[in-house]
């Protein structure tokens, strides 16, 4: 079943068809949420809330667009809301694993130590920087795709990416 048929069935009242969309996109959504919020449980909460928001807003979904970019906009909104509420509570719960990376997959080109150092440096960044860097490098998005996904101009993407990478490099050198 394609996304559009699933959405149309949901809108017709067959809400269990929404399962198709959840199961198709949950892994990608959890990965993206984790890159923003930095903690697995928070990421799962944000993804759950994002899917619920999406279900409620399905009637407003523009069928000419793809589903995931639309869901991603809802998801990042949920992630930043979650982070804002966490700030208000003055709780920092970044899970910096000492044995295993959560965001980065093992790579043959990096040693486990380098990978862990890189992930720790990523977690030391602001959520906005972390989101941008991971979308660029882990998903391989172009400046145009990033601009569309984040709702900013391409020039802004370039400039933000430049400074985010500089900050990441500083953290990487420090942690090393």
């Amino acid at each position: 079943m394609d996304d559009l048929s699933a959405i149309q069935k949901c809108l017709a009242g067959d809400w269990e068809t929404f399962r198709h969309l959840v199961e198709k996109y949950q892994a990608r959504a959890v990965g993206h949420a984790l890159a923003i919020v930095g903690a697995r449980e928070d990421a799962l909460d944000a993804v759950q809330e994002a899917f619920l928001d999406a279900f409620q807003a399905l009637g407003r979904f523009d069928t000419g667009r793809q589903f995931y970019p639309w869901l991603y906009a809802i998801l990042r909104n949920r992630c930043f809301k979650l982070l804002a509420s966490r700030k208000r509570l003055e709780v920092s719960s970044l899970e910096q694993s000492e044995i295993q990376t959560e965001i980065l997959a093992p790579s043959s080109r990096l040693s486990p130590e380098e990978l862990l150092t890189l992930e720790q440096a990523l977690l030391a960044l602001s959520p906005e920087d972390r989101e941008l860097i991971t979308l660029k490098h882990l998903d391989g998005l172009s400046y145009r795709d990033l601009a569309e996904m984040l709702g900013v101009a391409e020039g802004t993407v370039m400039s933000r990416l430049y400074y985010a990478r500089r900050r990441l490099r500083e953290h990487f050198t420090l942690v090393r």
Binding site: D14, V22, Q26, I103, L104, L138, R165
Partner: protein, 150 residues
């Protein structure tokens, strides 16, 4: 075209390293880098770092959120089930109602309305609620089965 200064040259060199079109022509970038030691060192470090960042992939996730989403939808009352075969139940209801009307019409009395009205009302309620009265509740079925096992 953007002004050729240290910041813009570094941004443009980064765009080139990312495979994007720079805002400053390549010869201008090269000329600036040849003359500015600080920018050259910065760009070299950045290029090496971009290569390092391109090495890992995103860790694949296996968590499932469907159960949590489905529970929330059920509790919030946003979810309403419409079985695909509901028109068949509607047809069956109409046939039963029609049969009842035909049988009752043979000995027509005003009291027939009191006999037919509850049936029609029940059908209307099920249609309005979009519920299938013949659907087996899986939870209840499981409980009955487990009692049977005992």
């Amino acid at each position: 075209m953007n002004q050729v200064n240290c910041e813009n040259v570094c941004l443009a060199a980064m765009a080139v390293a990312d495979g994007e079109k720079p805002l400053i022509p390549a010869p201008d970038i090269e000329l600036h880098l040849a003359q500015c030691d600080r920018c050259r060192a910065d760009v070299e470090q950045l290029q090496a770092f971009i290569e390092l960042l391109n090495a890992p992939r995103r860790r694949e996730r296996t968590e499932s959120v469907w159960r949590r989403v489905a529970e929330s939808l059920r509790h919030s009352g946003k979810a309403r089930t419409v079985p695909d075969h509901w028109p068949w139940f509607l047809l069956l209801g109409l046939l039963l109602a029609g049969y009842r009307v035909i049988v009752a019409a043979s000995d027509w009395e005003p009291s027939i309305l009191f006999k037919v009205a509850p049936v029609l009302l029940a059908i209307a309620v099920f249609i309005f609620l979009r519920e299938n009265p013949f659907k087996v509740n899986p939870g209840l079925q499981a409980r009955i089965s487990s009692r049977g096992d005992l």
